[in-house]
Subunit: 156 residues, 2 copies
Amino acid sequence: MTLKESRPDAAPDECRTLGRTAAWLAKQVELGLASVDLSLPQYRVLGFLDGSPAVSSDLAERLAVRPPSVTAVVDGLVARGLVERRDVVADRRQVDHVLTRTGRRALDDADAAVSARLRDIASCLGDDLESERAFGGLLAWRKALRAYRLAQGTAR
Amino acid sequence: MTLKESRPDAAPDECRTLGRTAAWLAKQVELGLASVDLSLPQYRVLGFLDGSPAVSSDLAERLAVRPPSVTAVVDGLVARGLVERRDVVADRRQVDHVLTRTGRRALDDADAAVSARLRDIASCLGDDLESERAFGGLLAWRKALRAYRLAQGTAR
DNA sequence: TATTGTTATACTCTATAACTATA
DNA sequence: TATAGTTATAGAGTATAACAATA
């Protein structure tokens, strides 16, 4: 089909450029999020806050950004009423972040929008088995990212 | 092997939040790119220019951004000597973009850095079969994205 | 003194609107 | 008149450095 696929020894090359695929996939996620007026960083924050609240330093570590970036992203979410800042009584330097009811709804909408777009794209494979391979791969990456995070946590 | 065999009624929820995984994976790609001082948009441009040159409008369409964003991102790459702008003789309004030798090297380095990080993460799965499922999934997404792009092109 | 988070500031990526050059 | 791309400008996300409040 393409130039690369027709070459006999293309297998190593296919793996080498797999990061590009992840980069394009990320753009598709962004496009899906645009329909619910959310950015990728905002989506990550909401997703992390889903389940339990978190203080600023937790967010910075898990989002892999510096503290001022957390402030900036959360500012936007607070302004829209999706996240609420709360004082921490035990240590008054810290700030807790909780998902509001509106925030939960926004996250649900975002999940739906992105899922729909991913399904749309996967459906272009035509083959159900191949499609399952795509989503199964994403499940594997979720598992891997969790394990990786855990490993980083213990190594630190 | 299939998604639903592990837990009977977990599939809907697991699929619903799969976009979050793509979002986190994107962050990991960004972190990998940081080691070669490249951003996700820059990486997309270099990857698209790999193989053949492209005029600005082609880039805008394929990157899914507006024309001024192309100018901005390419400005940075031109300043670093990774991309070269060239006049198009047939239509002097257009501007062609080609990867320089330095740009090719930067792209190779980026591919290597991102691949290494992805392998690092996948290795946390412990299981080689599961790891293969992760990378196989990414291959499926690459195929899907190509098919999707093609479908969009014909539909337009 | 050390730590937590914010403010000040700057750079990149994104957009829209207005403009230039060419067709 | 229409099209390709850039410039002007603004907003979001990122960073570093400096600061305030608290431990």
